[in-house]
Amino acid sequence: MIETLAQSLVTGLLLGGFYGAIAIGLSLIFGIVRVVNFAHGSLLMAAMYASYWLWALLGVNPYLSIPIVGPLFFVLGYAVQNVLIRPMFVRERALVIEPLGVLLLMAGFDLVLSNLALLFFRADYRGATVTFGSGTFPFFFMDLSIPRTLVFVLAFVMTGGLAWLLKRTELGTAIRSVGQNREAAALCGVNVYRVYNVTFGLGTAVLAIAGAAIVPFYYVNPAMGPPLAIKSFMAVVLGGLGSVPGALVGGLVLGVVESVAAQFVPATAAAIFSFVLFAVVLLTRPRGLMGTLDV
């Protein structure tokens, strides 16, 4: 019993690292740009397809595709913010505030991306089989999946890297100042829209890196976006909106809850537990476990 529980705990932590890895980009974007990126899931899907096709057509190992996919999606994220979202901000300042407008715009973008994938790639599930970085390794009395452990480590590395970037660099200072007060930052000479572009690019790049790293064990298909996007939203809300480490913590909590609950009820029903937890946190403590933003 203890062994089973310990095993489900470790499995849950690995699953949580996976949720955390895909949630930190969302958290960064929400914290700074204040946009709930409903296209998050489909951007993840797009990054995974990019990594998958690099493997399928050119034989590039998904881990080695990170230096290609990361910058590529930085540019994509930058462009999405600059071309699609910026006009909304410009209009919002001038006229009536439509807080839901951006959210719906991104929901529309999500539909476009996922259905483009369906049109071009069909509904097939595609997975890359790699030799480097696959298989399992012994960990106490259990065997752990190497690619899942790598994603777990990656989640911490990316969280640390983002924290360092935000705290220690000039760009990070600009980003944080914009996150706190857009008008005041603008008055201090920060180009707010450029910071938004860069932040959106960064968040998308981090997401794409996570996407490439999960290709070895997670099948890619056009409909995969929304379920993972919902998991990411839940991780971000649990951990606290606006906090990048919070997103990782939220992901870990979510993973452990699902994995441990699955010991007692069917796995699909275990998903209910995470939704209930999410709803309870949202309603009783909307700032989340580590959040700094007011609701």
């Binding site: 839901l100 719906l104 999500d110």
Partner: protein, 602 residues
């Protein structure tokens, strides 16, 4: 915009065409498309009622599912006709909607949307994994429920052909449009627009936000669940993955958003455009190009949000108006510009002056009031009394705590210590809307107009605090606008006003609630000298005619000295001194703390 005869003619014509379609069209493919138009127009209209409260629900499919499952299970288990089961499902969905909405409405924007998604997902996962539910209900998990076919059986909402479903669908669409139309014209319509526009201002005018949000939610859930039963009877199959799915909820929201959720006919327009398109693309090209229709949906949605954020309704109506004008049928424009617009009834004489209380009990009595924000003591041991009909100036340097006192007197903040009584009743623990109902009106230092409502509608929201009918509210509002001499601008939208104009509208809005005490937070800041003198004169006149008391927070000393009968000076959260204006102006402590040597010399 009031309906012109031509609009009415168009609506009657459209209805006649819809009613006559089955007489001409017998192809079931086309009838099916019409039924889908009615169905989605109905659902989007019902959904838009929640949007009117400023909240985006992306989980309305939950209520659709509750309706479908309730009527179907009642029929299959107990043989209850779905015509009755429909109502039972609607009532159940209303109850669930209120229970879920009550905590969720405290959240805003994306948080509310995410909560609705979470709720729907919980329900879907539960049903998909539950073979036998509570009380032994056979939910049959992901299999769903198949409604046994009984042939032509109107008594149990089953028909062989499509025509009866066509007329039921048409009737339901008309019902939803009627509900939304009447809500817009009633008090609740004005209240929801106010809540959407600015929650603080809405509360200051006596609106209990939770109550009105929940009423909108209840009606919306009730209607949506009716749609669920319609779906179940039309397709004779209740499928949890589709019916309880977030996808369907998003499709419903899309129809409303693209058509224009703030308008009565917007959802219908959205459905007329989207439902056939998606059905045809799905039917014709779905096999070869799976995903094409949702790709186009997404694209249209992005374009509409980027270029027509309020949906297609308004531009279409503007086009229609231009065509009508071109044909010389009507001369429409904004009502203010329209010559011969019906002149509102002359404002009745001002409400009778409230008899000044003969007793010596003060109207407002504040004792030992204190408020801290973290380590900052904003107000400390503050006493103040105001008599009926008195004008009191509350002055002091920025940060002295004047606005905090206002916020406690209007119940926006609860004090940490002390007592506030109004007309003998304690205000501790009350909400702002309750303070308003007792007779405390207020304006805001940073003005909070309802941006998308006209000046008249802004003030009518205040008037609804004491009258119920729209006609009466209009009369009271015009009276209040006349008092501040702003009735000529009644058709301008809130966000088009200048700062000085907003201040005046806020005074009118507060006056319309019929207050006994008016809290004015810098009402003349930003006005030029003439405007200032003018507004001050009006304020004094209002006081003289209506006998209300006014507390004025103002930095313009000339204004304070000329208008106020008594002045209290606050400094660092405490009352430094109080007295007649001339006395305070001469007091060395006032000069040191606030007025300055220059003022004393002048």
């Amino acid at each position: 915009m009031s309906a012109s005869p031509l609009d009415r003619a168009l609506i009657v014509a459209a209805l006649s065409v819809f009613a006559a379609v089955p007489l001409v069209v017998s192809d079931i493919v086309y009838l099916h498309i019409f039924i889908l138009i009615f169905y989605f127009a109905f659902l989007a209209s019902a959904w838009s009622l929640v949007a009117l409260a400023g909240q985006l629900s992306l989980g309305h499919s939950a209520f659709l599912g509750i309706g479908a499952y309730t009527s179907t299970l009642l029929f299959m288990e107990l043989g209850v006709t779905p015509w009755f089961g429909m109502l039972a499902g609607a009532l159940l969905a209303t109850a669930v909607g209120v229970v879920v909405g009550w905590p969720a409405f405290r959240l805003r924007g994306p948080y509310f949307a995410l909560t609705t998604i979470a709720f729907t997902e919980i329900l879907r996962i539960y049903v998909e994994n539950t073979e036998t539910g509570p009380f032994g209900l056979p939910l049959r998990a992901a299999m769903g429920l198949l409604i046994p076919l009984r042939g032509e059986a109107p008594a149990i909402f089953q028909f062989e052909g499509k025509v009866p479903y066509y007329y039921v669908g048409l009737a339901m669409m008309c019902l939803a449009v009627l509900v939304s139309h009447s809500m817009n014209r009633m008090r609740i319509g004005y209240y929801l627009a106010a809540i959407r526009g600015d929650r603080d201002a809405a509360e200051s005018l006596g609106i209990n936000i939770t109550t009105y949000n929940l009423i909108a939610m209840a009606i919306s859930c009730f209607l949506t669940a009716l749609g669920g039963t319609f779906y179940a009877q039309y397709f004779r199959y209740v499928n949890p993955t589709r019916l309880l799915g977030v996808d369907l909820a998003i499709e419903i929201a899309l129809v409303g958003l693209i058509g224009g959720w703030q308008t009565v006919l917007g959802p219908v327009i959205g459905s007329i455009l989207l439902s056939p398109t998606s059905e045809i693309i799905r039917g014709q090209l779905g096999g070869t190009y799976a995903g094409l229709h949702l790709f186009l949906y997404g694209l249209v949605m992005m374009l509409v949000i980027l270029f027509l954020p309020k949906g297609l309704h308004d531009p279409l109506m503007a086009l229609l108006a231009r065509i009508e004008a071109g044909l010389g049928l009507t001369t429409r424009g904004r009502p203010a510009e329209a010559p011969g617009a019906p002149e509102p009834a002359p404002p009745a004489p001002l409400s009778p002056i409230r008899a000044r209380a003969a007793t010596s009990a003060p109207l407002l009595e504040i004792r030992g009031l204190a408020k801290r924000f973290g380590g900052l003591v904003a107000v400390n041991d503050f006493d103040l009394t105001v008599a009926d009909g008195e004008i009191l100036g509350l002055i002091g340097p920025n940060g002295a705590g004047k606005t905090t006192v206002f916020n406690m007197a209007a119940c926006y903040f609860q004090p940490d210590a002390g007592q506030i009584a109004f007309a003998g009743k304690s205000l501790i623990g009350l909400r702002p809307d309750q303070a308003c109902a007792l007779g405390i009106g207020r304006t805001f230092q940073v003005t909070k107009p309802f941006p998308e409502s006209t000046v008249l509608a802004n003030v009518m929201v205040g008037a609804f605090c004491r009258v119920r009918s729209t006609r009466e509210a209009r009369r009271v509002a015009l009276e209040a606008l006349d008092t501040v001499e702003f009735a000529h601008r009644r058709d301008v939208l809130g966000h088009e006003l200048t700062v000085a104009e907003r201040k005046r509208v806020e005074v009118a809005r507060a006056l319309a609630t019929g207050p006994r005490l008016l809290l004015l937070d810098e009402p003349i800041a930003g006005l030029n000298a003439t405007e200032k003198a003018h507004l001050l004169g009006l304020l004094r006149e209002v006081r003289d005619r209506r006998g209300l008391a006014i507390i004025l927070v103002e930095h313009d000393m000339k204004a304070v000295m000329s208008l106020c009968e008594r002045v209290a000076l606050m400094h660092r959260g405490e009352k430094l001194l109080e007295g007649a204006p001339a006395e305070v102006a001469r007091d060395p402590r006032a000069i040191a703390a606030y007025l300055g040597e220059d003022y004393a010399a002048a």
